[in-house]
């Protein structure tokens, strides 16, 4: 009962929605000035804590800054965080994971201990500890996340490579006299990478949350930079009287996170190996 027909044409719906959200987010991140009605850092003491209205669609904060403009400008930093906090863990983890999964034996045992050591600490606590040592700031945050984050990718890739390695096509490569590196990176990895790519998408959503959390705690992006976490922190004292300062950046986090998750689901469907 093969259903070979109509297989290629359909792009999964989650991928379409997710892709649209992410494309819009990227455009906002690259050209925030084109869309933001005001300067995000301009104080306006004549318009403090104004509720959303025709002139300020998302209201203003306690310095009279336009919340909408700040939310838009924050895309630049937060999308940067999403990408830079995950791309290095993804790359490093993929390479190490592929090697560990292929070599097995002692390398696998050693790697297992590293995984144990990392996952026994809560991720956030570990990152906060590293940032406290290195000092606050985005660059140090990337380093902190990179030091810990690759382990998760490596674990996924190693498990998958181990499964693929047992299939005959891997042996066929060895019997053909191909080098180990060719077998790992040309043959096994393309068949093993899908779960890691899907995880990467979710991880980008998590990275934005992490970046915002660190921003909120004062360890990530530094005020007065427009960043969603910083914005939510700014608004925390006014929650009862001026909810819009915190809620709109919060919604932006949710929407972007949704974009990444949907894209991940869609990619999982597209990249699934056809048997």
């Amino acid at each position: 009962m093969s259903v070979a027909v109509s297989r290629r044409a359909a792009i999964p719906r989650p991928l379409i929605f997710g892709g649209v959200i992410l494309a819009a987010s990227l455009i906002l991140a690259i050209f925030p000035a084109l869309f933001a009605p005001y300067d995000p850092n301009a104080f306006d003491y004549a318009a403090l804590l104004q509720a959303p209205s025709g002139t300020h669609l998302m209201g203003t904060d306690n310095f009279g800054r336009d919340v909408l403009s700040r939310v838009i400008h924050a895309y630049t930093i937060d999308m940067q965080i999403a990408i830079f906090a995950t791309v290095f863990p993804f790359l490093i983890g993929t390479v190490i994971g592929a090697l560990v999964g292929y070599i097995g034996g002692f390398a696998e045992t050693l790697f297992g201990r590293v995984v144990d050591a990392v996952i026994t600490f809560p991720f956030l606590v570990l990152v906060i500890a590293i940032v406290s040592i290195l000092g606050p700031g985005l660059m140090n945050m990337y380093i902190a996340v990179g030091v810990v984050g690759w382990v998760f990718y490596a674990r996924i890739i190693a498990a998958e490579v181990k499964v693929q390695k047992r299939l005959d096509y891997a042996d066929a490569g060895r019997a053909m006299g191909y080098t180990h590196l060719r077998i790992i990176f040309r043959h096994l990895l393309p068949n093993a990478i899908t779960p890691a790519v899907v995880y990467w998408m979710t991880d980008m959503a998590l990275a934005i949350l992490l970046g915002s959390s660190l921003g909120y705690l004062g360890l990530g992006a530094q005020p007065p930079a427009a960043e969603w976490g910083v914005q939510i922190a700014d608004g925390k004292n006014f929650m009862a009287t001026a909810w819009w300062i915190s809620v709109f950046p919060g919604l932006a986090i949710v929407l972007t996170g949704l974009g990444f998750s949907l894209t991940g689901d869609g990619l999982a469907e597209v990249l699934r190996t056809k048997k």
Partner: protein, 329 residues
């Protein structure tokens, strides 16, 4: 010979994403008392689905039509309660993969007992004795000890024996066997085939034996039905069909098996591959692969004709096939 099972125009469809797939197409055959019928075909021929359709052992999305008359009653129209008594009771089934067909977390004894409880009125003590008898019957040594063992402690051949013991617990009149020896080694297959023959004699059962192996058919079955693309294309006694196949497909299959005396010469092969259910050719489904195909084969589906006593065939050019002789000697 008394007929125990009469199948008429049995059709089974599955709802697919691009329309219904007809897995079993207008299949009719009958089965005599103590008879072993071989249902032969390649993958996708519909032989296993036919077997399962007989006792409605199909996923819920399947649609069935036709009649399966068992002891005067149509199984396809039975109430769920009556069906329960027939399925696993009067009609038992054994499967290709004993490893997955047996429950891994229950001891073998308990799995036999379960079936005894469902289909007999024996007391606990009697069931225990009966379970031991069944283990002896199927040739599992040290029955008393092995009843408390789990499937993983049994070898492949012993698992298949245990599955047969479970199937026999209800004193079935008909045993449905779905490739029961395909996963086994040849010396173990030999033992199981002979066990099934002995059991047929001792218990006076009928057997429907689904297989792709013509050697198994030649060694065990009385009659055979050859399936292709969901239809039965040829039926007859095993001796008749092997002596003179009348369908081009049957002839090709027999010719595909290597024979003594023709070593290292090309085998009579059938070009192409069996069609998938979603793309069954028009007319005779076999015509794209057939050496005898003519214009009419591309246009119309051949009817089943009785060409000799008990020998039926659905082929437009069966006379031409007969004229070229049997590929076996």
């Amino acid at each position: 010979m008394k007929t125990v099972l009469d199948v008429r125009n049995l059709t089974t469809r599955f709802a697919g994403p691009s329309g219904a797939l007809v897995a079993v197409n207008d299949v009719s055959f009958s089965l005599g008392e103590r008879e072993i019928l071989g249902l032969v075909g390649e993958s996708g021929s519909g032989k296993s689905v036919t077997l399962r359709s007989l006792i409605r052992l199909l996923p819920s999305m399947a649609g069935q039509s036709g009649e399966v008359i068992w002891q005067g009653r149509d199984i396809l129209n039975m109430s769920p309660k009556d069906l329960k008594a027939v399925r696993g009771g009067q009609i038992s089934m054994i499967f290709q993969e004993p490893t997955t067909a047996l429950n891994p977390v229950l001891p073998i004894g308990l799995q036999i007992d379960e079936n005894l409880r469902a289909h007999t009125k024996l007391t606990h003590r009697e069931r225990l004795i009966r379970a031991r008898e069944l283990m002896d019957l199927v040739g599992i040594p040290e029955a008393a000890r092995r009843l408390s063992e789990y499937p993983h402690q049994f070898s492949g051949g012993m698992k298949q024996r245990a599955m047969i013991a479970i199937a026999l617990a209800s004193n079935p009149r008909l045993l449905l066997a779905d490739e029961p020896t395909t996963a086994l080694d040849v010396t173990i297959q030999d033992q199981i085939l002979k066990l099934i023959l002995d059991l047929r004699d001792e218990l006076a059962m009928s057997v429907i034996f689904v297989t792709h192996d013509l050697g198994v058919v030649a060694a065990t079955c009385d009659r055979m039905a050859v399936m292709y693309a969901g239809r039965i294309v040829e039926t007859g006694t095993v001796a008749d069909v092997f002596a003179q196949p009348m369908h081009a497909y049957t002839r090709g299959l027999l010719g595909s098996v290597p024979r003594v005396g023709t070593e290292r010469s090309p085998l009579m092969s059938i070009e192409g591959t069996p069609p998938s259910l979603s793309a069954i050719p028009q007319g005779c489904a076999f015509h794209p692969r057939c050496d005898f195909a003519t214009e009419i084969c591309r246009a119309t589906q051949p009817d089943t004709k009785m060409l000799a006593a008990e020998h039926q065939v659905a082929c437009h050019n069966s006379l031409a096939v007969v004229k070229t002789g049997s590929p076996v000697r």
